[in-house]
């Protein structure tokens, strides 16, 4: 437990030394934002390493536009207030573009700040449709949105013959949005939503809810929020003897899910990008990531790597650090990433879907055997 | 002076820097009832509080049976032989009469000894025995005073400090309490009695001190003080 703190301290030290260096030399500042503390801190840890890899590689190759890149790292703690503060801090420190953003709740209020400052923002994982709606035009999503995720979910439910569904969210922008889309789509496809619930973040006891879901005879339960609550819900559902299908959104796609819930999660479905081990360049990336950071990559490490590459490529293509030119270059992105191909739609969302339904087994997620 | 139970020399004390007791010296001999008299605000209650460690002594020495007890914590005094029955009785209203008595002997670990003492208290105050299972706040004022004294006796004190035992009681009750004080003296307990009702107090005491603005202004045999016309007029009030 202590090593985590030490690392955070070391990170702060590195960051402050970088900042003072940046003031002196010819550099380009790129912002990075993710939860580094709080319940979703593992997301920050697994993405910052990947972005640093891209920066290190680019700087070793001479940088961008002839200048070295300096990464300014900030913490949004997956929280709207801290997300706003982190965005203001990045803008005032003079970054020309930002990569990161794991939680929709923290990203949505930050969009206007980047928009007003004309700072392009490549969003790694946050994917609420509210981001798409609130996008001032400078934000790009490399992760599929809730709509795409819901399509994947509906396909799974249809395959498994699910007729009745219970949906549970945590009341935040991301999970409430996903729950609403799922309910609409499930009803549209002829199914019946027998229970829709919202829990408070940080709540530990789901027993009353579990009893209601069981009583409502739901064939499947869809948890649209994050892994903390998801782990508790799965455990309590299974303990109560619930036999139906359990599906969790990509918000729960984190290793913590397994450490907390243990073997009870086996057989549950989690939506997310294809795992590294099932990607063509995945093994090589895992090795590089481990060599660079000393840790195994997380579920979003590859996507964060791709996002940083897409951003730096766009800056190179724009030939300037001017925001609008970079946005224009981003719109023309055609990139074959480790996690999959990246190109953007009219609305700056990912073309196609990178989501698949993964099944949990033995402490890991894998592509289900057909 | 082996027969001196309480020996106070030049005691000064107060609250948060405001001195209310000045240079008080007094002696209480074994088996006697000594009265401390004075008008409201003369410092009588403060004197008892200083003796029992509820307020700190700033100067002076207090000795209980030759042992110095100046500024030792209040909760160590019952075991040392001195019990303070405070003004206003301070019984534990939401606890039963029996529980109040058990607490009076808190420092006595042996339950059997406590039960023997409870039986003795019940002999002195039969009404408490009758109502022992009831919550104490149901008792009348006089009965509450009996409980307060009975609770004080549970520690088997050598010296009992009684603060205004007659306060707020009907005359018939006052008489009953005073009879009990006489009985306690007969049983060998030494008593320091603080009273505003000085006429009654002097009738039952052996010796008296007059307190005025935190100083002792007069002392003497109870009978002598009771005869002094000027004292009667100034401190004891016309009847």
């Amino acid at each position: 437990m202590r090593s985590g703190t030490t690392k955070t301290l070391a990170l702060v030290a590195v960051f402050s030394s970088m900042a003072s260096f940046a003031a002196a030399a010819d550099t380009i500042k790129i912002g990075f934002v993710a939860p580094i503390t709080g319940a979703a801190a593992s997301f920050g840890k697994e993405t910052v390493g990947a972005v640093r890899m891209v920066v290190a590689k680019t700087n070793a190759g001479g940088g961008v536009l002839g200048e070295k890149i300096v990464l300014v790292e900030t913490d949004d703690a997956c929280d709207p207030t801290q997300g706003t503060a982190a965005a203001s801090k990045l803008v005032s420190s003079g970054v020309i573009a930002v990569v990161g953003g794991m939680c929709s709740g923290a990203v949505v209020p930050a969009l206007k700040i980047y928009g007003d400052a004309h700072v392009p923002f490549v969003i790694v994982a946050a994917n609420s449709t509210k981001i798409v709606a609130a996008n001032p035009g400078n934000a790009f999503l490399v992760n599929s949105t809730g709509d795409a995720q819901t399509l994947t979910a509906m396909t799974l439910f249809a395959q498994k013959g699910i007729k009745t569904l219970a949906v549970v969210d945590e009341g935040d922008a991301f999970s409430a949005d996903l729950s609403a889309i799922a309910q609409t789509q499930f009803k549209a496809s002829g199914g019946k939503v027998v229970d829709a619930e919202t829990t408070a973040k940080g709540e530990q006891d789901f027993s009353a809810l579990v009893t209601r879901i069981t009583a409502a005879k739901a064939d499947a339960v869809y948890w649209t929020a994050y892994q903390d609550g998801g782990a508790l819900l799965v455990k309590q559902l299974r303990r109560s003897g619930y036999q139906g299908l359990i599906a969790l959104s990509d918000g729960s796609n984190a290793p913590d899910l397994f450490t907390v819930v243990g073997s009870a999660v086996n057989g549950a479905y989690v939506f997310g990008p294809t795992p590294l081990k099932d990607l063509p360049r995945g093994a090589a990336f895992s090795a590089d990531f481990a060599a660079a950071t000393g840790d195994a990559p997380g579920n979003y490490s590859a996507l964060a790597y791709d996002a940083a590459e897409v951003l730096l490529d766009a800056i190179k293509a724009a030939g300037t650090t001017e925001g609008e030119a970079i946005v224009k270059a981003l719109k023309g992105t055609r990139y074959e990433g480790i996690a999959g191909p990246i190109a953007f739609t009219e609305k700056n969302t990912l073309v196609g879907s990178n989501f698949i339904a993964l099944v949990a087994h033995g402490g890991a997620l894998s592509v289900p055997q057909k | 002076m082996p027969d001196t139970v309480l020996d106070v020399q030049n005691l000064s004390a107060g609250y948060g820097g405001i001195r209310v007791l000045h240079d008080i010296s007094l002696k209480v001999k074994k088996g006697r009832v000594v009265a401390v008299l004075g008008t409201n605000g003369a410092g009588k209650t403060s004197l008892l509080r200083a003796l029992s460690g509820l307020i700190a002594a700033e100067q002076g020495i207090i000795r209980l049976m030759q042992r110095e007890i100046t500024n030792i914590p209040a909760h160590k005094l019952p075991a040392a032989g001195m019990v303070h029955v405070p003004e206003g009785r301070h019984i534990f209203g939401t606890m039963t009469i029996r529980e109040n008595l058990e607490l009076g002997a808190f420092t006595v670990a042996d339950a059997r000894t406590r039960h023997e003492r409870i039986d003795k208290v019940f002999e002195i105050f039969p009404i408490l025995a009758e109502r022992q299972g009831q919550d104490a706040h149901y008792l009348s004022g006089g009965q509450q005073q009996m409980l307060a004294i009975g609770r004080g006796l549970m520690a088997a004190p050598t010296l009992l400090l009684l603060d205004e035992p007659s306060m707020g009681l009907a005359p018939i009750m006052v008489k009953e309490i005073m009879v009990i004080i006489d009985r306690l003296r007969e049983s060998g307990i030494t008593i320091l009695l603080v009273e505003q009702n000085s006429r009654v107090a002097l009738r039952h005491a052996d010796y008296g001190y007059l307190l005025e603005l935190g100083r002792i202004v007069r002392e003497g045999c109870a009978a002598e003080l009771a005869r002094d016309d000027s004292i009667v007029r100034t401190y004891l009030g016309e009847v």
Binding site: G4, E203, R239, V260 | -
Partner: protein, 301 residues
């Protein structure tokens, strides 16, 4: 009917947690008239201490019942001592200070515990290394697991023992005496500081037991879990009558049931459960501040 009984069971289990924590709240309030805001965090720390005991002793304790029982007792003892330490360091020097100062100190103590665990765990939830399995029984329409039974039974036993201690022993009487009249208690030869320490020990030990149970039952611990629990235990104590030990038990169980059924009203979803809980708090504070079992409130906060 089955639904109703199962929800009743859920409510009782949740209520047991609230009651365990509310007891400490109410005992400390009774003795010191202090709302010990650090109490929820004591519960949280109790869980983490249990986790440490299980981790350190995993080789010979295992992760089954033996380990959990050792963790329960070990955490109760250590965290009880921590509660005494907090009182000694943070509250005792302020015994004569205005009540507001002590209240602020209590908030500070809460943040110290909270932030310390945040720093140590990095803010991530930590899996509780106990595996008691999912073995359970179907009693008619109710499904009850072994750990749920253990939780209910232990809570009842603890409350019974506490009630006997407080009503039948000299130290228990002394606790009630101190809570009723501190000055008179000193005159009886009661060392008030010692009784206050004892109260903090017992209250913190019960909260620690709650914390270890929470870890074993829910499977994970989080540095923030004490916050909401503290609020709800406070609510339970108010509902039952703050300062009253049977009141804390009754208030805890009432709150658990209220919360479970409050979120089961048709068309009103689980997002309303905290509305039910804190609505009850306001209701009682406004209309019956003495709670169900409380005696007349003498003290103002």
């Amino acid at each position: 009917m089955g639904f109703f009984l199962q929800q009743l069971m859920n409510g009782l289990i949740l209520g047991s947690f609230y009651a365990l924590i509310a007891l400490g709240y109410t005992m400390v309030f009774g003795v010191l008239k202090l709302l010990n805001f650090a109490h929820g965090d004591i519960y949280m720390v109790g869980g983490f201490v249990g986790l440490l005991i299980l981790k350190l002793g995993s080789s010979w304790l295992g992760s089954g019942w033996l380990g959990v029982v050792v963790a329960l007792f070990g955490s109760a003892a250590l965290v009880g001592a921590l509660g005494m330490l907090i009182e000694r360091v943070a509250y005792r020097p302020l015994r004569q200070a205005p009540r507001l100062s002590v209240l602020i100190t209590a908030l500070a103590a809460s943040m110290v515990l909270n932030s310390a665990v945040l720093a140590l765990t990095g803010g991530r939830p930590v899996a509780f290394p106990a595996d008691l399995g999912f073995v359970g029984y179907d009693l008619g329409p109710i499904h009850i697991s072994v750990i749920q039974m253990a939780l209910l039974v232990s809570t009842l036993i603890l409350m019974l023992v506490l009630e006997l201690f407080v009503s039948r022993t000299q130290y228990g009487r002394a606790m009630r005496a101190v809570s009723y009249d501190m000055v008179a208690s000193r005159l009886m030869g009661i060392d008030v500081s010692q009784i206050v320490s004892l109260t903090f020990f017992l209250g913190s030990a019960l909260a620690a037991i709650g914390g270890v149970f929470a870890g074993s039952y829910y499977g994970s611990l989080h540095f923030f879990m004490g916050f909401i629990m503290g609020l709800k235990a406070f609510t339970a104590a108010v509902i039952g009558g703050i300062g009253s030990i049977p009141g804390a038990m009754l208030g805890g169980l009432t709150l658990g049931l209220l919360e479970t059924f409050g979120s089961s009203i048709p068309f009103i979803g689980s997002e309303w459960r905290d509305v039910a809980v804190f609505g009850a708090l306001i209701f009682f504070l406004v209309l019956k501040p003495t709670g169900i079992l409380g005696k007349t409130m003498v003290e103002r906060i």
